[in-house]
Every structure is written in structure tokens, then in C-alpha cells.
């Protein structure tokens, strides 16, 4: 029990909220593109570019918020490139997304070497981190539970407030409706005179906005530094969440809390002497397991389809149907 107390306590929950924020922001960003019918594997690169340019902006201007703006601008540039290639040139989403991720990785390392003459990471150089927001009265109201609502950076609050806002956005605004129509029934959108191209551009740029914030949180939030490939797969985990949540903000939140918890819990395990290499795999294993389990649960539809195709086969050819009954 004592060990459990040490493992799970207020600090762990607060840490979960902190580690959830970046992945929640980037996944909410991806929800725009998912809803608009674009498979956006480029989230990782947008986030990484956001993290790097947030640090650059923070150093150049001496202001954390100007840094965040720089990070967001960089992520928007990547999102725009993605939209131009995928929407206008109709290039393959997977190829463009992967290439932009590779571009972001190579570009940030090259620029780091060009500007700072170092490899690996940028520390110091006058990076200004984001301030912590102390909510007045939290201590008096909640006592030892105060760290659950107070003392986070502004971006953490933005991430969690964005969830209900997105729910309203999809259900109550015209643009939200347009995005959903374009994703679910592009023919209907076209018939209604909605410009698919314009809606997809807007969705991509909104995605870049939130991915940039997520990146800025990584490099200016709780640690003020940039390291090579510091997004370390969070963008891909966000894509995994988007696949099984279908971009619904509340399901995205649930998925992200799971990963945030896995992240925070694995950091905690490390202090208990578990080998760090194994502990670090935990978030990825959780992501993969969730992806597999939830796609297994989506199987009724597939079984129905299989049954339908089997019936079709039965009516034409008995032999191939018997093969089809035992796939693998």
C-alpha cells in the first residue's frame, strides 16, 4: 500500500495533466484534419518545428509569448506546405506527411548547427520559459489538492479548455459542420456548394496552430530547452488516438489522458530503479495496444462484411469459400 501511495498521488495526477497537454493539443489539432477527411501523419513534424522555433523566438525576442508565436508560425508553415501538396496537388497524404516529418527533423538539426554551432541540444542562451499561472484562492479552496488546478503554464489550460470548445465548434458552428461534411460526405459538400479545397485548407491550418502550441509547450513549458527530435513520437501517438477516436474531442481527451498517465507513470517507475530503456517503451506499448484492441473491437463491422463476401462466394464457388473461412 505504501508503495502504491508513493506511486499514485496528487503529484502524479498533476504530472499526468502536464504530460497530457502537448499530446492533447496536437491530437486536437489533428482532429480538424481527421474530421475533414485527411489522414495527417505530419503532426510530428509540425510539433517539432513548433518546438524549435519557439526556442529561437524566445531567445531572439526575450519573451516567452513571442517565442510561442514563432513556434506556431513555423508549424503553420509546415501545415500550409502539407495542405498545398495534399489538397491542391492531391499528393499522397502518407508520403507528404512522412517527408515533412523528415524535413522538420533535418532542418531543425541543420539550423541548430548553423545558429548555435552545436549538435544535440540548445540549453541556456537566454531561453525564456513560459510562466506558471497561480490561480488565486486555489490553495485555500483545495488545500493539498491545489496543484491539480493551479501552477500550470498557460498552454496547459488552453489545451484542456480547447476540448469543450471543440465540441461546441463541431456541433454548433457552420465551419465545424462544413468540416464534418467535407470529411464524411465530400459529394454532399460539393452538391451544397461548399468548397472542399477551402475547408481542407482551413482545417489543415487550424491543425498547424494547435500543433505549434503543442511544440512550444515541449520546449518552453516545463523544460526550457530544445533537443534533437524532442517530439519523440508524440505526434504519431496522437495519430493513433485520432484513428480510434475518429477525431471526437471527448474521446481524444480520454485517449490523451491515458497516454499522459502512461508517460507520467513511466517516469515515476524510473525512479524506482526499473531499467529506463524498458520504462521508456511504456507509452509506445500503450499506444500500440490501444490501437490494436480498439480495432479488434471495431470488428463486428468487418465480420459483417466478411459474412457478406462469404455469402457472395458461396453462391458462386464453394471451394474458394471454404478457404475463406479460415483466414490465417
Amino acid at each position: 500500500m505504501e508503495i502504491l501511495d508513493k506511486l499514485i498521488n496528487v503529484a502524479l495526477i498533476a504530472a499526468t495533466l502536464r504530460t497530457t497537454a502537448p499530446i492533447l493539443l496536437v491530437a486536437l489539432g489533428g482532429s480538424f484534419t481527421t474530421k475533414a477527411g485527411i489522414f495527417n501523419i505530419g503532426l510530428e513534424g509540425q510539433m517539432l518545428a513548433g518546438a524549435f522555433f519557439a526556442v529561437i523566438g524566445s531567445i531572439w525576442t526575450g519573451s516567452a509569448f513571442a517565442g510561442v508565436a514563432c513556434g506556431v508560425a513555423a508549424a503553420l508553415a509546415f501545415a500550409l506546405a502539407f495542405a498545398v501538396l495534399v489538397v491542391t496537388f492531391r499528393a499522397n497524404e502518407v508520403v507528404v506527411g512522412l517527408a515533412l516529418n523528415i524535413l522538420a527533423g533535418g532542418m531543425t538539426i541543420s539550423l541548430m548547427k548553423a545558429i548555435f554551432g552545436t549538435r544535440g541540444s540548445i540549453v541556456g542562451h537566454g531561453i525564456v520559459g513560459l510562466p506558471k499561472v497561480q490561480i488565486p484562492g486555489a490553495q485555500a479552496l483545495l488545500g493539498s489538492w491545489a496543484p491539480l488546478i493551479s501552477g500550470f503554464t498557460p498552454i496547459v489550460y488552453v489545451a484542456f479548455i480547447a476540448v469543450p470548445l471543440l465540441v461546441l465548434f463541431y456541433n454548433r458552428t457552420r465551419l465545424g459542420l462544413y468540416i464534418r461534411v467535407v470529411g464524411e460526405k465530400p459529394e454532399a459538400a460539393e452538391a451544397l456548394g461548399i468548397s472542399i479545397t477551402r475547408v481542407r485548407y482551413i482545417a489543415s491550418l487550424l491543425c498547424g496552430l494547435l500543433a505549434g502550441l503543442a511544440g512550444a509547450h515541449l520546449s518552453l513549458g516545463y523544460i526550457t530547452m530544445f533537443t534533437e527530435n524532442m517530439s519523440s513520437g508524440r505526434g504519431f501517438m496522437a495519430v493513433a488516438i485520432l484513428i480510434f477516436s475518429n477525431g471526437d474531442p471527448l474521446k481524444v481527451l480520454a485517449g490523451c489522458l491515458l497516454f499522459g498517465f502512461a508517460d507520467a507513470f513511466s517516469l515515476r517507475l524510473q525512479t524506482f530503479g526499473f531499467p529506463s530503456y524498458l520504462v521508456l517503451t511504456v507509452p509506445y506499448v500503450v499506444a500500440l495496444t490501444a490501437l490494436f484492441v480498439l480495432s479488434y473491437q471495431a470488428r463486428p463491422k468487418i465480420i459483417k462484411e466478411t459474412l457478406a463476401s462469404m455469402q457472395k462466394l458461396l453462391s458462386t464457388d464453394r471451394n474458394s469459400a471454404s478457404v475463406d473461412k479460415n483466414p490465417q
Binding site: Y277, P327, Q328
Partner: protein, 347 residues
Amino acid sequence: MMNDRLRAFSGQIIAIGVALLLGAIIILMVGESPVRVLMTLLRGAFGDQEKIAGTLLQTTPILICGVAACIGLRGGMFNVGIEGQLFLGGFAAAWVGFSFSLPPGIHTLAALALAIAAGAAWVAIPAYFRARYNTNEVVSTILSNYIAVLLTSYFTIFLFKRPGGWSETPPILATAYLPEIFSFSRLNWGLAIGLLLAVGVALVFRYTSWGYGVTMVGSAPKFAEYGGVNVKRQGFVVLLLSGAVGGLAGGVETLGVHHRFMEGFAPGFGFDGLIAALLANGSPVATIVTALFFGALRSGSLLLEVDTSASREIITVIQALIILSVSAQVLIKRRGDSQAGERRWKF
């Protein structure tokens, strides 16, 4: 027919030209002269016979990974997990190399066989879920890369660390080496394995009904299903084979070059291979050319780090730009197609 090919080829060349132009702008942005970078790259890649051998040495893993990617792409699958399969294959080969003592030749073959098995095993779960439940293989294989890299690091550092060494396994026995071709370079017969594999896979795709079925599943799954191909089983087999070849790439790298497994072993070869295969439009033989191109870039970039102020990662920027401009031009050409068709990378 010939005209089409010529147009496709010239389109590819134009796209590479555009990418190099953009690359030049980025090189100017990081404060280097593009001409100097280009000359350094060329000198680093082809300056003398050792440099040329070095280029071929870098080409080998890219080529084998590229063939792995081609197998997947032909069957309509993005195996983005080649990097992870490479790491596990590399570790498996090293393990056979340092744990057993077998006669020369047999030792090498046994190590390569386990590398192949490890690569296939690593992709088996994503492949099963892709085939059975249509789980997106791009995401599952990308995420499994991170696990593979951490897991092999764990094996290396916690279970099999060389006493007194630093994050590397003991060296493999000389009986397991892939022999070197020249005395002046670490270039080894792995290159021959890669070339044979590329040609062999191309022949299988061209002349066997199985290969034809795979290509059909990749380009027209409905048609293939109607024609009697078990699309699900074939998808599983295609990913498994792709993973097996990815594992082989790791085995070749261990037995031919490093003679041990270490942390940060062969970074990025899996992604380079995927890019090479995409640039080659999924053709294994054309991948020989694109892999050589990327091998030269990699080899040249080593000198780049020494002789100029640019970082060697500038070449990954150029590679990404090439793929982006190629992806755009492929589709300009096909503007007449339906939207669904246009949004797929065609092979």
C-alpha cells in the same frame, strides 16, 4: 508507351531539379555556399577509390531496406517500420555471432537467418492486425520503431554488454563475418546480397503469378479479390516478407560492417530505404539507382561535416524536398483521374 515513360522520367528529373533548387536556398539560409556544399558532397562520395567504396558501403543497407519497402509498396502497404526491423535483425545477427561458435559460412548463414526471422517476427503483430482488422499499418509500424530501438538498447546495455565496453555487445566471432571485397574498405559482400535481392524480387514481381497478384492487390484490390486472390492473407504475407528483408538489412550491417551491435546502430537507413523506394516508384531495380544516389549523399555528407560549416543532416533536408516535389509532380501528371485515384501514390 515509350513516350509515357520518357515523360514520367523527365518529370522525375524536373522534380529533383526543383528540390535541389529549394535545397540550395536552405543551404544559403544556414550560411553556406551551395556550390561548395555540392563540390564537397561529390568529393566525399566519389573523390577516390576509398570514397567510392565508402559510398557503396552506405548504399548497401539503403538498398536492402529499399527492397523491403518496395515489397510492401507493391502490395499497397506502407511498411514504415523497416528501421525497427533493421535494429532487431542487427541485434539478432550479433547475438548468433557472439553466442555460438559454428564453422565459417554456416555461422554467417545462421546469423542472417535469425536476422530475417527477427525482422519478420517484429512486423508480424502489426501485419496481422492490418490484414485481419484493417488497423492502419503506417501508425502501428512507426510506433513499433520506437519500441524496437529502446528494446535493442536494453538488450545491449543490460543483458549483453561487453565487459568494460560502453553500450555495445561483445564482438561477433570472425567465422560469422561477411567477407570484405577490397582490402582498403569495409565494403563487403552484403552489397552483392542487396543487388541479387533487388533483381530477384523484380523478377518475382514480373514473372510469377504470386507477384502479379501482389501488384494487383496494391493497385486494384477489388479486381484482385474478384480474380481469386485472398487479399487479407496476401497483405499479411507481403508485410511479413517486407519485415524479413528489413531484418536481413540489419543482419548484413552487423556481420559486414560493425561486427557487433551497439546503441544508435545504423540510424535512419530504414527511412532512407523507404524514400529510395518511393523515389523509384516501387521498382526494386530502380531502387538500386536511387539507393546509390542516397548512399552517395550519405557518404558525401561525412566530409561535409568536416570541410564546411553545414551539418550532415542537410542531406536529409534535400531528400525530403526531393520526395515532396516528386509527390506533387506525379499527381500533376494525372490530373485527369478521379479524386480517389489521384490521392493514392500509384505504382
